[in-house]
């Protein structure tokens, strides 16, 4: 951190492909991740994101393409020689070793002397707030604690790139949200490049510096969370991140995010430059913080509008079945690429 230098590339993928028999898991992926970046691969199950992670880790060999770590070609390098470490979905903690031995295993294999190793393990334990639990066995820990051990075991080796395969998938919502914040903080503190796989769009948006949305083994869009959410490049991205609000007007496919749509009161003037379309409310869905209104437009197709639940409870339900006018500003609509 002495001076501002141009960011170095931690990971570069070029034309990476992988198929299993007839099934194409990764269909040509190009990707560059900068050093210190929190990069997320987001996609539904079967989109190839986990396979891509396994290719980076070296557990699978690509059929074609090139994988570079810190500028070095590692395409044919076995996992034990790659400067990557993985946090597995099932944590993959060694059940016959103590927590401390689990965390220290990578250092032990690399021949780090015992005193230095113990010091680093101790630091790692403190980092994940498990100091004092080093002597326990993994089966004596809770799910959240195991997750931390898995993280510590990977981070302690200070890899060029840390790979995380849906690490919070097995935790309950509350714990998951806590861990999201903690994980992001740890990443900032240690400054290691994270490549994070998830199918949870909210998780991807909250944690990532940049994310890639994957579908059918290909990257649909790469960008910072705001860009991907506000300006989805394809219908798939629009639908996968947030609520699919796609309509066709004059032969053009448009996306309007639900929170950008206003439901006008009777006789209310929408103001200048607003698109207004009449319809009627088909369904009212209460989701705690907000209420969603599924509106059938008169020109056909549906849109979802969202309103904060600031008013008295119960008033939302009365909209069901009623005619309503929706208004949105033109700058909040985005035209989707054709043919995707």
């Amino acid at each position: 951190m002495t001076e501002a230098v141009t960011p170095k590339t931690a990971l570069r993928l070029q034309g990476v492909r992988k198929s299993y028999g007839q099934v194409v898991a990764v269909a040509g992926v190009d990707l560059t991740v900068e050093e210190g970046e929190f990069f997320t691969l987001l996609g539904p199950s079967g989109s190839g994101k986990t396979t891509l992670l396994r290719l980076i880790a070296g557990f699978e060999r690509p059929d074609a393409g090139r994988i570079e770590l810190a500028g070095r070609d590692v395409t044919s390098t076995p996992p034990y020689l790659r400067d990557t470490n993985t946090v597995f979905q099932d944590y993959a903690l060694f059940p016959h070793m103590s927590v401390a031995d689990n965390i220290g295993y990578g250092l032990r294999v690399k021949g780090v002397a015992k005193p230095a190793r113990e010091k680093r393990v101790q630091r790692a334990l403190e980092m994940v707030r498990l100091a004092g639990l080093g002597h326990r066995r993994p089966n004596q820990l809770s799910g959240g604690q195991r997750q931390r051990v898995a993280l510590a075991r990977a981070v302690v080796n200070e890899p060029e790139v840390l790979l995380l395969d849906e690490p919070l998938g097995a935790l309950d919502l509350k714990l998951r949200q806590e861990m999201q914040i903690e994980l992001k903080q740890i990443q900032k503190d240690v400054g290691i490049t994270f490549v994070y796989v998830t199918h949870d769009q909210e998780e991807a948006l909250t944690m990532s510096d940049r994310l890639a949305v994957m579908s059918n083994g290909q990257i649909e869009q790469i960008g910072v969370p705001v860009d991907v959410y506000e300006r989805p490049a394809t219908e798939f991205v629009a639908g996968f991140i947030g609520i699919s609000n796609v309509i066709t007007r004059n032969g053009v496919r448009l996306v309007v995010r639900p929170e950008k749509i206003r439901m006008l009161a009777e006789g209310e003037d929408p103001g200048p430059g607003m698109t207004v379309e009449p319809g009627h409310v088909e369904q009212v869905i209460y989701v705690g913080m907000t209420t969603r209104y599924l509106v059938h437009l008169e020109r056909g197709e549906h849109l979802v509008a969202v309103r904060q639940n600031m008013d008295a409870l119960g008033d939302a339900q009365k909209f069901e079945g009623r005619p309503v006018r929706l208004a949105w500003s033109k700058e909040h609509t985005f035209v989707l690429e054709k043919g995707r």
Partner: protein
């Protein structure tokens, strides 16, 4: 509705309570019915005969009439403790059982590893059949087959001579017993080892590689410790089966190959000294009790 129906089964129209519902209401009844036959078998046949054996061991026979004298004494055990010939026999039996166990463990591990973690589904099935196939043949037939191989003019010496090597006269020696025992009990080591190896999750092997360990290091640090309970479970079989055997020593052993089992056999048949035979029989039982205790400590029973 549906929930209610499941939660509280009620006889329809005042008829008899459905049979299955009785078990649902009285879970202990089902356990009782399931367990009674095997427990009865276990207690009456197995446990009772073991107690009988133990009791008999403390009796003696009248040297003239060879009738059993039902007087409590420790003569039999004193005889075993004081006569060096029995020390040799017990020592030989235990040593050979340990040696056979070790040999089988060393042979079985790579084989089971290949079966569980390398071979394709098809090859796996074939290997499984190959392991189990010998068990279909009679034990005696398999031992006799080995006699034909290890004999002075057997297959082994014939092969050695045909490539110009001196003959290896291991027929009717302890070496022959070691070879035959190791062969005969090998499947009993392979199967539990295989089962334990198959249960080691692939992600642990990947995690080890991910942390920088090469293949051998991973096998040593991760796979072997996790499969150890399976190996120990297999060793219970190989060790106890060798410990109690008397046929192989009889057929392929030589003059100095007498096992505990052979002494027991001759005391029952020839000497007609059943109390002494019983006393001798308690030795393998005691050894196995100690062995099982250690095995249990090593977690072998979690792998069965």
């Amino acid at each position: 509705m549906a929930v209610k129906a499941v939660g509280r089964p009620r006889p329809k129209g005042g008829g008899a309570v459905p049979f299955a519902a009785v078990f649902w209401r009285l879970p202990w009844l089902r356990s009782l019915l399931l367990l009674t036959p095997p427990l009865a078998w276990f207690v009456v046949i197995y446990f009772a005969s073991l107690v009988l054996l133990l009791v008999t061991a403390f009796w003696t026979t009248d040297p003239f009439t060879t009738q059993i004298v039902q007087v409590w004494n420790t003569t039999n055990f004193e005889r075993i403790l004081n006569e060096p010939v029995y020390h040799d026999i017990v020592g030989r039996t235990v040593l050979l059982a340990a040696l056979v166990t070790l040999t089988d463990a060393v042979l079985a591990f790579p084989f089971a590893y290949y079966m569980a973690r390398v071979a394709s589904r098809r090859v796996q099935t074939l290997l499984f059949a190959a392991v189990l196939l010998p068990l279909w043949a009679s034990y005696l037939a398999r031992v006799y087959a080995w006699i034909l191989i290890l004999n002075h003019s057997g297959l082994l010496n014939w092969s050695l001579q045909s490539i110009g090597l001196p003959p290896a006269n291991i027929g009717y020696t302890n070496v022959a017993m070691w070879v035959v025992f190791s062969y005969i009990w090998l499947p009993f080591m392979i199967i539990p080892t295989y089962a334990a190896l198959e249960r080691v999750p692939e992600s642990l092997v990947e995690a080890s590689a991910d942390l920088g360990a090469r293949r051998w290091r991973t096998i040593r640090d991760i796979v072997l410790p996790l499969a150890l309970p399976g190996v120990v479970a297999g060793s219970i079989f190989t060790f106890s089966l060798t410990l109690g055997d008397y046929i192989t020593p009889l057929l392929v052993g030589g003059a100095g190959s007498t096992f505990i089992g052979n002494v027991v056999f001759s005391n029952i048949g020839i000497a007609n000294n059943i109390p002494f035979a019983a006393a001798l029989s308690t030795i393998p039982v005691a050894i196995m009790a100690v062995y099982l205790f250690i095995a249990q400590r090593l977690g072998a029973f979690e792998a069965l």
